[in-house]
């Protein structure tokens, strides 16, 4: 028998260590609970303040100086137009670059530069994209200020790296055996990629795209830079009309002195969160439904 372990002192020490173990575990649980309770608090406050203002008039109206008649349709339409531009640009560009980088790119310094660019663009603060949009699209190309066209362009540059990165991961996940099989029956490399690899990678690419779009939908800062903060009383008709977007409307209303706008702001936040939740839900659904484990 090993006497060290039989002493009173050692028994106390073990008891103390076990207590520390329980304490540490509780601390971990506490950290999660505390983090999530922030989320719950935020949601509860927004629901409490905003739910009362969510009615048909609010959903179909446009901005107004009078809180009771102001609505979000104008901003929502601006958001939709902006997102349409963003998607139309970032999706094809993102997918095509992902294909090139993953399947065809030679190993050389230029390609390294592209990869470094993409990884860094994904982490550049969004406001910097706003500065780019202002300097290039508006001041240099003379595109109209406050328009969904410029907003969409700016957000597309921001979203593209996200799509490229997720697209590359999805393409990488397609096993080489599929490529070998296609090449072995005489398909050209381009045919192999477009007929076999891309369809298999598509769910993953779409998931990444939706997540990127959700992020773009919630962005405010870059759009502030390109002037999408104008007071827009009539919904925009096209991508070159002055427009606002939903997050911007939230920002503008939050600045109003009139307390009545608190309800509007919170209600607009609820609408925005519902959209984001739906998009993320769709992404998760797609991932679970189509994800293939090789």
């Amino acid at each position: 028998m090993n006497s060290v372990w039989d002493t009173e002192q050692m028994a106390r020490r073990i008891a103390r260590r076990n207590k520390a173990e329980r304490r540490f575990r509780l601390l971990g649980l506490g950290a999660i609970v505390l983090s999530l309770s922030f989320l719950v608090l935020l949601l509860v406050i927004m629901l409490k303040n905003g739910l009362g203002g969510l009615d048909w008039e609010f959903l179909t109206g446009s901005d107004s100086t009078d809180a009771s008649t102001a609505g979000i349709w104008g901003a929502l339409k601006g958001s939709l137009l902006t997102m349409a531009v963003t998607l139309a640009l970032s999706f094809p560009l993102g997918v095509l670059s992902a294909i090139y980088l993953e399947e065809f790119a030679p190993k050389n310094r230029w390609i390294d530069l592209v990869e470094v660019s993409i990884n860094n663009l994904a982490a550049v603060p969004s406001i910097i994209f706003g500065l780019l949009g202002l300097a290039v699209f508006i001041n240099t190309f003379g595109l109209p200020r406050s328009a969904p066209l410029v907003g969409g362009l700016t957000l597309a540059l921001m979203t593209m790296p996200v799509i490229v990165i997720s697209g590359r991961n999805a393409i990488k996940a397609v096993p080489p055996s599929i490529r070998d099989a296609a090449l072995a029956v005489g398909a050209s490399p381009v045919q192999t990629v477009f007929h076999h690899v891309l369809p298999l990678a598509l769910p993953g690419i779409l998931t990444g795209t939706i997540i990127g779009m959700a992020r773009a939908l919630g962005e405010t800062a870059p759009l502030l830079m390109i002037g999408m903060r104008a007071f827009i009383a009539t919904p925009p008709d096209g991508i070159t009309d002055p427009a606002s977007v939903l997050p911007m409307q939230i920002f503008l209303w939050s600045d109003e002195i009139d307390r009545a706008f608190v309800q509007n702001t919170s209600a607009a936040i609820i609408v925005l969160l519902v959209f984001l939740l739906a998009m993320n839900g769709l992404a998760i659904y797609l991932r679970n439904k189509f994800e293939v484990r090789w």
């Binding site: 090993n2 060290v4 050692m10 020490r13 073990i14 076990n18």
Partner: protein, 252 residues
């Protein structure tokens, strides 16, 4: 003291979820000699070994039934901290912590609080490294990373780490399978020296190794312990048909 074996297992079953990996195993293990577990891979040697220091507790789906005693005391009622300090373990792949050689060995004594001060800790570290046959090679570079050693040295470091808390039993799960023949021979020598002080259980898939280092051998097959006896008897005169098939190389 002479009557109760160091460790004894009675009717042990181990399940992974619904799958049974060990079926009704009973065995006694004593100090002063080396016990080898042999058998084809997947037969449950590691699983059974890990039941002896309750490492299976760390696998959520694993469930152990039956009784295992250490010095006559049921280990399922012991504190795992204490049990694992008394029953040390060496793994298949050397797994030194990403710390210095000194800190690797001092880790156990430190968490268990068995060293009174720096001087005593130094002494424990030196003694453990000497017993593991590593002291001469590392005495001048105790602050180097443990991971910078060669594979064989790393494994001896892991053995030193295990003996630093003065265990009574040392469990080794294929400790040489990742090593070259020279490093293997070095570890086998070491096991031979250590058996005087500790009860040693070694899992091996090499029958030659079992024959070289062990005095007792247990043959496992499909989760059952088929045969257990003196190593020399088991290899020269197996009682069971399946043991004979295995040691003559019919499968494995």
């Amino acid at each position: 003291m002479t009557d109760t074996p160091k460790m004894s297992a009675r009717n042990v079953d181990v399940y992974y979820g619904a799958k049974q990996a060990i079926d009704d195993v009973s065995i006694d293990i004593d100090t002063g000699h080396v016990t080898a577990f042999i058998g084809p891979s997947g037969c449950g040697k590691s699983t059974f070994l890990r039941s002896l220091n309750r490492m299976n507790d760390t696998i959520p789906i694993a469930r152990v039934t039956g009784e295992i005693d250490l010095d006559g005391e049921d280990i399922s009622r012991m504190d795992p901290v204490q049990l694992r300090a008394r029953v040390g373990m060496v793994f298949q792949k050397p797994n030194p912590f990403p710390k210095s050689i000194y800190e690797n060995v001092a880790y156990g004594p430190r968490i268990h609080g068995v060293a009174a001060g720096k001087a005593e800790m130094d002494e424990i570290v030196e003694k453990s490294l000497s017993r593991a046959g590593l002291w001469e090679e590392v005495r001048d570079r105790l602050s180097d990373a443990g991971t910078a050693l060669s594979g064989g040295q790393q494994q001896r470091l892991c053995i030193a780490r295990a003996i630093a808390v003065s265990p009574e039993v040392i469990l080794m799960d294929e400790p040489c399978s990742a090593l070259d023949p020279i490093a293997t021979a070095r570890i086998e020598e070491l096991i031979d020296e250590l058996k005087e002080r500790y009860a040693i259980v070694i899992v091996t898939h090499s029958m030659q190794q079992a024959a070289r280092v062990s005095q007792k051998t247990a043959f496992f097959h499909l989760g059952k312990m088929v045969e257990y006896g003196d190593t020399s008897d088991l290899f020269t005169n197996p009682q069971q048909e399946r043991t004979k098939d295995y040691i003559t190389g019919r499968y494995g």
